[in-house]
């Protein structure tokens, strides 16, 4: 059987490959839209608050927002973002066990935030702050509710990624998109917390 010899240069770089994965790019566009949505919400809130006569904001007959108590939730959410970053680093160096553990911790911390926010809502509703009780209530439940909804969806995505990681079929595109979404949720919260709760 005749054979022929060819030469192959092994160390030349491979061509092709995307600069950004499809999932990350799509999520970046979604996050762009979401940032503008929240900017609009917060802007409207600040305009209404600043146009209220002095001494009437927050409305005297409405409960005060629990700034100090919410600091615990805030710390939990920020810690969740840091742990997710560490999970990504572990995943990058192919330490699957550590990545799975850290991703689980990040989900738990995020879950604590959502549950604590829910408990806070129940308390505030019991005290008389509802969506229709005042402008404060309307803005509070719209802005914080939209953020809570995003946090819940992002947690579901992270949980799906955790499961995929466990089954060994997690892709960098899916994980990158989920991370981007969660970082958006984490970094949007301090702005809401400092502007709306204070």
């Amino acid at each position: 059987m005749d054979t022929r010899s060819t030469e192959r240069i092994l160390s030349l770089p491979t061509r092709g490959g995307r600069l950004v994965e499809n999932g990350v790019f799509g999520m970046a566009i979604a996050v762009f839209v979401e940032i503008m949505l929240f900017a609009g919400f917060i802007s409207a809130f600040l305009i209404v608050r600043d146009s209220t006569p002095v001494g009437l904001w927050p409305p005297p007959d409405q409960p005060r927002l629990p700034f100090e108590r919410t600091a615990i939730n805030t710390a939990s959410l920020l810690a969740s973002g840091v742990v997710l970053f560490l999970a990504n680093r572990a995943w990058s160096r192919r330490d699957i066990r550590a990545a799975q553990r850290l991703l689980g911790i990040s989900i738990l911390l995020g879950g604590f935030f959502v549950v604590a926010q829910g408990a806070e809502w129940v308390r505030l509703i019991a005290q008389g702050l509802t969506l229709t009780s005042s402008q404060l209530g309307a803005f509070f439940y719209t802005i914080v509710g939209a953020h809570g909804l995003h946090a819940t969806v992002a947690l579901s995505v992270l949980a799906a990624d955790w499961r995929a990681l466990r089954q060994g079929r997690l892709t960098s595109s899916a994980f990158g998109a989920a991370q981007l979404f969660w970082y958006f949720v984490v970094l949007m919260w301090p702005a809401i917390y400092l502007l709306v709760y204070r």
């Binding site: 022929r4 010899s5 192959r8 240069i9 092994l10 160390s11 600069l19 305009i47």
Partner: protein, 98 residues
């Protein structure tokens, strides 16, 4: 020319244009409106700029990772630099005749 006629008319009579009073009036209570307008106008530009900057840096880093090690050796490099560079391996591959 007829299409451009409303512009000087509106500039001459700003009240008739129903322009946003908040942008023009320097009242303290309109400060939030003023800053919000600026922030909401600049935010998309900042986001797009940041995205392009990130893509540019990522693209450069990737280009360096791919092609950096294949640059021509410098004249002053000497034997030590040549030895530290990855060598291009030429490997004979045998296969069936096409």
């Amino acid at each position: 020319m007829r299409r451009l006629l409303p512009i000087p008319c509106l500039l001459a009579l700003p009240g008739a244009a129903h322009a946003c009073a908040a942008c023009a009036a320097a009242a303290d209570r309109n400060r939030a409106v003023f800053y919000s307008t600026i922030a909401l106008s600049l935010l998309p530009l900042i986001l797009l700029g940041a995205a392009f900057l990130w893509l540019h840096r990522r693209s450069r880093a990737r280009f360096r990772a791919q092609f950096g090690e294949h640059e021509a050796p410098s004249m002053a490099g000497g034997a030590a630099e040549q030895a530290s560079r990855p060598r291009i391996a030429v490997v004979p591959v045998t296969g069936p005749r096409a």
